[in-house]
């Protein structure tokens, strides 16, 4: 059945402007001059007080970047980016970095409060018995308040504060901004940085290597199960800036860590660039669970403005029996270009990728994963749910490969797309490459609209049409939602509801 006219009209009027994190905050900023050159990189490095090896590493990446061409193979279209028209460094004044929350600019804390991440309260509330019922209710309203989650808050180019550091340190876990890690733990950074995503990897990753300004660093030592969820909250505030964050997570033998990132940005007419690199390293028996709730500003109803989200994320299951699991809920960004991957190097290692990509308005999503099976008895699982509405284009692009020595490699891939309205597109481009006869790969993909039978079944029970559709969509993405840490699952579900508002809900 074609979408009912009513739904189409609603999609047309789609209120992307209801993006509720679109506010902007006036904060005194310290910026590098516009443009990109070796001098700018030296400036960033000096601002960060980095050792000389780091500067050399950056300059090496920059020289490499100059020789690279922008990739064009993805199904996304955008005007050419002028890389000289971007501020590569913007930091709230009042640096050097605060040592405690009381040193943080109150304006900044307000930003995070508005975003529902009251860093201050959270740290105070932690360990304090909540007796007041109303307070409790209010607290459970937001996941960041209810659970004990250590947060690293990144504002434009710098990390402003990291909570729960002491308690984490007691467990031996290092959780800090990457700039701090470069200064405090250079041996770890030097050993692992760029070992999963080399500086020469691809256009945007190389750019990131040259100019990254901050991000999170997590190190979980041997045998430690990280005592709480870790989280980074990225906020882009300043005009014309690009955000280039770098995250490095290392789980030593037998360690476990669950990490969540969230992101928002103000509403602006011009596009902003976000090119991040995330590297995960899991040694023997280690497990890393990485979840993303991506809610960058998607642009307005006409497709004006919004974030270009060009991200390279890769996990390396370096040790035997290690496990890396990616879960992503993608609802924001004008353009998403992102393929969180797993290199299954260790024997018996496993990789997982769970994704919900919702696109509406004029959003373009080209996302998926790569599962590279190198070790013996490796397994991977891909569950991808794409929902396209409005005038958006939603592409799943994934690769599964088994190399010669990857005996008994096992993959299961399922990607389903749901189309809402006849102006959008859903595409599936899976690559499957088997070079070992004991490999067992299965792939299935479907594209459809909500079936009449399903809708009839629900409506027959007295549920109005729009609600019925919302219910079915929630069922459609359930497999992935289940993979999110429980506190965030609720948030993600709400987010999907908001993104599709006007088209289904």
């Amino acid at each position: 059945m074609p979408a009912v006219q009513d739904t189409i009209d609603r999609v047309r009027k789609i209120d992307v402007d209801q993006y509720k994190y679109g506010f902007q905050t006036e904060i005194a900023m310290d910026k590098a001059p516009k443009g990109l050159s070796e001098d700018i990189i030296r400036f960033i490095s000096a601002k960060k007080d980095e050792p000389s090896w780091m500067l050399e590493w950056r300059l090496g990446a920059y020289r490499r970047w100059l020789t690279l061409d922008e990739p064009t193979w993805a199904r996304v279209h955008y005007p050419k980016i002028d890389f000289q028209d971007i501020y590569y460094y913007a930091a709230p004044k009042s640096t050097p970095g605060p040592t405690s929350l009381s040193d943080v600019d109150p304006e900044l804390l307000k930003v995070y409060e508005k975003l529902g991440i009251p860093l201050k309260e959270q740290e105070i509330l932690a360990g304090v018995q909540k007796t007041d019922v109303s307070e409790f209710e209010e607290a459970s309203d937001n996941v960041y308040k209810s659970g004990r989650v250590a947060v690293d808050a990144v504002f434009d180019s710098v990390s402003v504060v990291t909570t729960f550091k002491k308690e984490l340190a007691q467990a031996g876990v290092i959780f800090c901004s990457i700039s701090e890690a470069i200064r405090e733990h250079p041996e770890l950074v030097q050993k692992y940085l760029g070992s999963v995503v080399p500086t020469s990897d691809n256009f945007y990753a190389t750019l990131n290597s040259a100019v990254f300004t901050d991000g999170s660093f997590v190190f979980v030592p041997k045998g430690v199960r990280c005592p709480m969820e870790l989280s980074t909250y990225f906020r882009m505030n300043e005009k014309n800036t690009g955000q280039f964050e770098r995250t490095l997570i290392i789980a030593e033998e037998g360690a476990y860590v669950s990490y969540l990132e969230g992101c928002t940005a103000p509403q602006r007419d011009e596009n902003q660039l976000h090119a991040a690199v995330v590297e995960l390293v899991a040694l023997d028996d280690a497990e890393i669970k990485y979840s993303t709730v991506q809610n960058w500003y998607p642009g307005d109803a006409e497709g004006k403005g919004g974030i270009y989200n060009f991200v390279t994320k890769r996990g390396d299951c370096r040790g035997d029996r290690s496990k890396i699991s990616w879960t992503q809920v993608e609802t924001g960004s004008a353009i998403t270009w992102k393929y969180p991957s797993c290199i299954l190097r260790g024997d018996d290692s496993s990789g997982e990728f769970y994704s919900i990509a919702v696109s509406n308005g004029y959003q373009q999503v080209d996302s998926g994963t790569k599962m590279i099976h190198l070790g013996k008895n490796t397994s991977s699982r891909i569950i991808s749910k794409g929902i396209a509405a409005g005038f958006s284009q939603n592409t799943y692009r994934g690769q599964v490969s088994a190399h010669r020595k990857a005996a008994n490699a096992r993959n299961f891939t399922n990607c389903d797309s749901l189309l809402i309205g006849d102006q959008c597109g859903a595409h599936t481009v899976p690559y499957m490459e088997a070079k070992n006869s004991t490999a067992q790969f299965e792939h299935e993909a479907t594209t459809s609209k909500i079936s009449e039978d399903q809708k009839f079944y629900v409506m027959q029970r007295g549920i109005p049409e729009e609600e019925a559709i919302a219910l079915i969509v929630n069922g459609f993405v359930k497999d992935v939602i289940q993979q999110l840490p429980m506190e965030f699952a609720v948030e993600a579900q709400k987010l999907i509801g908001i993104s599709l508002e006007g088209s289904v809900g």
Binding site: L419, M432, A434, T438, F441, E442, T447
Partner: protein, 422 residues
């Protein structure tokens, strides 16, 4: 063609360009045809496609095509018997069509060389895209083939078998077929021969309203031959096309299938079997456009990979924005039987209409151990049991064809392959 300027021509590219210069005066065609040939060779001068061109991702033609034999006009190809007894045969021997094609009621057969000379087929010679290397190669060099017109309402009792038989050297053949309103036919395309040939073969089919055609491509080139083939079809209103492709030979093989539904109610079925042995590189690439509403398609490809063979299946289903109510399904199943073999597959869906049901599935695996155990527990030795299972895996696809004579004929070809490669 490759948009990047190639730093240096490969020997194969040079050989093709030189061969064009030498052959030019012998190629049939009026002014319009010759202009198309010039355009086509220009495209080749820009370089053969590499893996950087998405549609050639798994078949780097520039790297893989390393030998281009000279034309051998003196060579003689031997005629063979048709797969279904009593078929009318249209032979193309070493690239040359027969001066006296058989007379069949309701069918007009003309030599393509004549149609090239009078220029009437010029409009159809354009490659279908910038990455259409096979189309360009064929357009540049095509010298002969047939133009077959099946009259409105004609129902052919016996299959029509086109035999493209090479005898080493180069052959570039084209077969144009128009099937009239309500006509019915079974057409067999045989691609075989002896020698280290470079073959390019393009078949174009236009189905009129309500026409029903079963088209079988049986490719059994020797393991020295390079076989670059293309099958293009337009499906009119309520027409039905069943295409069966069997690849069981060749050194470097690329079979492209380009189908477009142009009338409502059209139905397309593709069944494919790729039997890969030795060090063959065989690529089947399909692009299916559902361009109008209410059309259906199903594709099933079964692959068996042995030895050092490399296999590729790329299948793209495009559903255009107005093609509502499309129902399209595609499956690609592979048995990878050797550690030195490899198989890559890329089943794509590009969907711009919302009221559709589309799906694809792909699997790569070895023989199911439970199945093997079941047979061996009944006293069948392992080798025989494996043979039975592999054969059953591909034969399943043949059995779906609804014509006893054809099923038997194809099973015979299958047995032939298992006999030599068992």
């Amino acid at each position: 063609m490759n948009m990047h300027t190639q730093p240096q021509r490969t020997p194969a590219e040079t050989a093709l360009i030189d061969a064009f210069g030498e052959r030019l005066s012998l190629l049939p065609g009026d002014g319009a045809v010759m202009l198309k040939r010039d355009d086509a060779i220009e495209a080749i001068k820009h370089g053969l496609p590499t893996r950087r061109i998405e549609s050639w991702h798994y078949t780097d033609l520039r790297r893989l095509l390393n030998v281009v034999p000279d034309f051998d006009l003196a060579a003689a190809a031997k005629a063979i018997s048709p797969i279904v007894e009593g078929s009318a045969i249209l032979p193309v021997l070493n690239g040359v069509s027969s001066a006296k094609p058989p007379v069949i009621e309701g069918v007009t057969v003309q030599r393509l060389s004549e149609k090239l000379t009078d220029g009437s087929v010029a409009p159809g010679l354009d490659p279908y895209g910038t990455d259409d290397a096979i189309g360009a190669l064929n357009t540049a060099f095509v010298a002969d083939g047939y133009f077959v017109d099946i009259a409105d309402g004609a129902e052919l009792e016996k299959p029509l078998e086109l035999q493209n038989l090479q005898a080493g050297g180069q052959t570039h053949v084209r077969l144009l077929t128009r099937v009239g309103v309500g006509a019915k036919a079974v057409i067999v395309e045989r691609q075989t021969g002896e020698g280290a040939a470079l073959v390019s073969s393009v078949s174009q089919l236009v189905l009129g309203e309500g026409a029903e055609v079963t088209w079988l491509i049986v490719q059994e080139q020797p393991d020295t031959a390079t076989h670059l083939a293309q099958f293009k079809a337009h499906l009119g209103k309520n027409s039905k096309l069943t295409l069966f492709v069997m690849n069981a030979g060749g050194k470097l093989v690329r079979q492209e299938v380009v189908v477009r539904t142009t009338g409502e109610g059209a139905d397309f079925t593709l069944r494919g079997i790729n039997l890969l042995a030795g060090d063959t590189h065989t690529d089947v690439t399909m692009v299916l456009d559902h361009a109008v509403p209410h059309t259906t398609s199903t594709e099933v490809i079964r692959n068996v990979v042995t030895g050092k063979a490399r296999g590729v299946f790329q299948g793209r289903i495009n559903v255009h924005q107005y093609a509502q109510k499309t129902n399209a399904k595609m499956a690609c199943n592979t048995l990878l039987l050797s550690d030195d073999g490899e198989f890559s597959t890329k089943p794509e869906l590009e969907i711009f209409a919302d009221d559709v049901v589309c799906g694809h599935g792909a699997t790569v695996t070895e023989i199911d151990h439970n199945h093997l155990f079941y047979l061996m527990a009944r006293g069948i030795d392992e080798k025989t049991a494996r043979g039975l299972l592999v054969k059953a895996f591909v034969a399943e696809v043949i059995e779906e064809l609804d014509d006893e004579a054809i099923v038997e004929a194809l099973e015979a070809r299958l047995d032939d392959w298992f006999l030599t490669h068992g």
